[in-house]
Structure formats: C-alpha cells, structure tokens
Amino acid sequence: MKKLILPLAALMMAAPAFAQTKAFYVKKGDSYTKYNLGVAEMMQFADGGHTLKIEGYNEIIDLDGIDYISLTAPVTTSLTPSEQKQKLVEIGRQVSDMVDLNENPALFNMIHSFFDGYYDESNYRWHDAPVEYEIKREYYDIHNEFQKMIKAAGSLAKGNPEAARALKASAVNIYRFQDYHGVYTANPETEAWDKSPADHFELRFKGYNGENFSIVLKASQETTSWASRHFDIRFPKSIDMTFANGSSTIATAKLATTLVQDKSIDMTLDATVGSWVVKNTMAVRDKAITDKVDVTVGGKHFISTDSHISGRNLVNYDLMYNDIKEAIHYHDENDNCCGDDPAGLIAHFIRAVNETDVIGRLQLSGRANGFSKLYNSLSVDDWTEGRFDLNGMRVYGPKILKRKGDRFDVTGTDEAVIVDKADYLNRYTDVSFRYDGEKNVQGCLTFEVYDEEEDRYIYTDEYNSYVVLTNGGKEHLVSVHRDIEWKVDGEGNPYKVVGPWYYYAYKTGEDDYDTGSVKIEVDESQLVYPSDVVDHCYEIEPHLVFPDQTSFAFGEFFDELSFSDLIDEYNNIIDTYLSITGQDKEDDPDDCIE
C-alpha cells in the first residue's frame, strides 16, 4: 500500500514526544558532538583532568578546548526537513546515475534463468527454474550456497557492499564439503541435477536465450591450516570463482585466506563485475574483527563500509566452539533439549562500530555495545497479554485495557516490555548521518514505541460471541462458540439443536507448547456483545531526529511524494532489469518500489 504524507502539523505534534536518550552533548563553538551515555561506557580522565577518554567511542576530548558539556540536546540550526529531503533525493539520484544494469545483461539473465521458471503456452506447461530442480539430499548444502553466490553476484552488480560478505561466506561454506567436488549440470528434461566427476566445483545450466551459464570454483593446491580438537582445517590459500556464459566471463572473484594457528584469520575477496570492482578484507584477531568493503564503479568511489567489532577470545577455538554450541538448540544423549542460550557467545563481543560512505556525499555512523543487555531485553516475549492461565490451563484472548459501554480496547502485547526494548536500543546504540564528509551531524536515529490501533472484526452471528474472563486482576476478552445441528423430526420438519457456549483451554507441555485442548462451557448469561473491539498493537519504529530537534518516523519522512523522482529513477532501473531478462513489468508488480 502506498504511503501518504501526513500533514506537517501532525508531525510537529508528535515531534516533542520522542524519547531523548541520556547523552553528553559536547559544545565547541557552533557545533556539538553527541556521546550517548549507554554507548560511552566508562569515561576516564587523564592529563590532570584536562582530557576525557570516551571508551565506547574511542575518542579523547580536550576539555580545555570545549565550551561545556550539556545533558540537554541543544537545538541548533540545520537543514530544514524539506532541505534534508532534497539533499537525500539529490544524493540518491547521483547513486542511481552510477548504476547501469545494461552493462551486465548476461549476469542478470543468468540470475533470471536460474531463479525464475516460465510457462510455455505452446504446450500449456510450467517449467521449473533450475533452482527448483531435484537434487540429492547430500548436495543440498552446496546447492543452497550456490544459490547464495548467484544472488550475491547480482547484488554486487547493483552496488550492495553486503553482497561481498555473502559471496565470501558462501565460498567458505562450499569448501567445507571437499568430498563433493564435481560438475553439477541442470537437466531440463528430468528437471534434476546430474553430477559428473571433477577436481573442482562447477554448476552448469542453460539460459532462456540459449546461453551456457557456468559457475566455477577452483582452489589452489596450497593450503592454510588450523588445528583444533575436533579436526584439522586445511583451507585453500586461494579460491578462484568465475561466472561465465560459455567462454565469455561475466564476473570473477578471488578469495585469499591466511590462517595463523590460535592467532589470526585473514580473508580478502576481490570481485570484478564489468566496471564494478569490489574489495572486501576481513581480519579476525583475539580481541577484534575488522571488515572493510570498498566498491568502485569505473574507478570512481561508490560505497565503502568499515566495521570494527571489539571482543574477547575470538580466535580461541575451544571457547568459541562451546559457546556457539550452547547458542543453538541441540539434544543430549538422553534426548533432553539443550542449548538455546547465546549468553556465552554474546559475551565474546563488547562493542561494534560501523562507518559507511556513499559516493562521498552521505556518511553513516553506527555504534552499539552492551550486547548482553540488548539481548536480554530484546529476547523477552512481548506477546504475553493475548494469553493467560486459568485453572492450570492456557486460554487465548487479549487483555482488556479499557471498556466503555460496548467498546472494548484490547491488546495482546505487553506495552512495558516493548518500551523496555526501545529504551535499551536507544541506550546502547547510536546511529547518525552526515553529508559531504563534513563533521556536523545532520541527524540521528532513535527508536520510539507506537500504539497502532486497529478495529477488530466482531463476530455477531449465532455461532460466535465473547465472554470476559478474569485472571490475576486482568480481564481478557475471549471468543466463545456454540455448535448448532439441524435435525429432522418424525414428521419431516427440520429443527435446530443448539449446543452450549464454550471456549477452548489448552494444556501446555515442555517449552510452553500447547499439547491438547478441552472445551470449557460458559453460561449464556456471561456473554458480552461488543459494538467495537479496538486492538492496540505496540511496536518499535525508528525515528529520524534532526539537529533542530524535529523528529519524524521513518515511513513518514521517506514519503512517496517527496521522493517520487527518486522512486521513478529506481523503478527505471527495475524496468531495465526486467527488459534485459525479457520479463513484463506486470509479471511481478511487487518489484516496483512504492
């Protein structure tokens, strides 16, 4: 559904209500720098109290050179919301100008031919895409990773830096299955994959225009090793990946890896797709992981991201193995459920920083820490008000917030839990953006809790109604039903047999799952007949806060009206993709950005 711009007046009313996180606003001249106190962690004075090191930001403030530190967000002049939109539209247009899908038609045809089936009108037959072809169960993992590789290659050609990390991960995963070397060829007749022996991995399939697409992974003979208590890893020092149409290369990538026992893991991925060149370097040390992606188009900077995660014991195999094992679900020798506890794994990570630059015009900065605290808050079940326990059984029905006449306001979510989650996100994350490499922050992200009201459908027939059940001082609106059976008497006259009203109550077993239901009868005198049931759903939504302290919900700021030109540009890109791959736009209207 297309979103409509909300009246500015309504936005301004909402603006003062956003949650302002506790922060140090360091004022110096006309500018200020924000340090979110949850992210800042411990701040250490040095040089006789003249400097202050902000641990979580890894920055040192010269206290003699500042005006003051304010705990209240200062209102400063900045671009107006309208000017901000113009700026973002301008940057977005420059980005779209750099994207020319016509440069890589073969790649997109490859993606289309692999993922999209087609209907043959001549014989009224649907043909599955190769991605749907039957594969032997033991090859599932490889097949899935190849899917990811093809998708990643496509994303790379659209400038998505995350795709480099996905491509790298897929290549690594495939090489965990060295026993499955071979050439896998898609057979359209049998709609299955045929395997033939080879000393490398290769996937072959026909394109819809008769192309002979292939993806080849060849590993170097030389390996880099890492011994563990479970197995000795011998990973190829380099893996060459080639995406081709017959003898014509569409894209290439090379993954170079160096493992140093108990000390470090270094990986570099270099990928080239036409004029797109992508370099991803990752370095894992005991106390940190750094990951950089640089994308250039025709030799010009397009996008770069630089991530740094501080941690502890990150290359300690035994510790990491145990904590990863405990983080996932598994069964012990007596088939008891174990794991599902990521606390140990999360404790390896202390803080994360990400800096992203888009064509030198837009800079995004993100920080997070307190991962254990964030996890503990975010993992709490917030849908607890839509069910309750009564006489040892589980009953489903939303909590009644208020009742006025026949109008019921209800909710299934625990507002306090949602508010707590937003609070933790605001305290332990800090996301801001700047323009044109300038130091001044032009906006930041906060998380707000919204009450989204929706009218529920009310059943008003003779089969369905409602009762109010009370438990622990809370009232719940519970649906009740009755069965009506038609019978015929001895004279052939039909008549109704009306059963009692009832609701379902459920027994619960291990892990709180419902294991069976029973019908609980209620007297008709207990029924209520709501005229309106308004459901309150509490949700977290990101907000943009600008230096003038105006605040906008994401969906409201990025409205269609202001960004229509940009949306048109991106729709043109999608049209180009559809045109290259011989598809009609109407085939998949969801492809259009709205």
Partner: protein, 153 residues
Amino acid sequence: MKKTVVAAIFAGLALSLSAANYLHIRTDAGWTVLDLDNVDRITFTGGNMTVTDEKGGVLGTFKQAQLQSLHSDEIAGIAETIADSGEKTFTFDAASRSVSVTADGDFTVYDTAGNVLVAIPGVKKGETIDLGALQPGVIIMTNGTHSLKALIK
C-alpha cells in the same frame, strides 16, 4: 488505523529506575553519585569541573586534578575482587548519605524492585561514596557479600 507515540512517558519511567539515571563521578577522594535528571551542564574552568542544574545551581564542584572517571551505566566485565570475609565491607552514614568502603569490591545500590541504581566496579578500601543525590526510597547496598538496607528520605 490510528497511530500514536507512547514511548516518552514510559521511557522516562524506565530510565528513572536504573543506573542509567545516575552519573557516577570518581575522584581521588572517592565517589559521588549525581541524579542525571538534575544535571544540565558540566563546565571546566579555573581548574574545576562544575556540575550545574537547569537554573545554574551548583550540584557539585570537583578539582580537575583529582578527577579519575565518569560513567552512568552498569559497567560489565569487571571481575569480583572480594571473597566472603563475613565482615562489613562498608559503612553507611545516613545523615550525610555517605558510604565508607572498608574492603575492595564492587559496590552496588538496588531499589526494592531489584533495579540497579548505582554500580561502581572496583571500589577500594578507604574510598567514600556520596549518595546524596539518590531519590527518596528504600535502597539496598551491597559490596561483596555484605549488604545493608537503608531509607533515603
């Protein structure tokens, strides 16, 4: 469909019940805990750090040369440094709302709901902790295995 922001009031409530609402200042003389809701500005002039409220009232003055650290949250990752001695690890003077630390450890103040109000890792024997800024209510102080319940009026 109607959509309204509801966070501001509740978020304020949530914050007021946690250590995030207090600024912990460590100096050579000990610890001072200030209520962040009252702190408006911190200035550094004349060799002093001065903390003031919205009206310019001074909440605290600290010699810059004696400043050691600041934090406003539960600081994770600090190991316990004290074993159960069965002895008092701190004393509390209700009149001055001041704690005197008598053994190294991690000093924590909770409210009766279990929320951490003050979290000072690695306090040292001989240090003092000024809790004058704590909001009224019943608090529970701990350091190592020693705990003490007190009423802040």
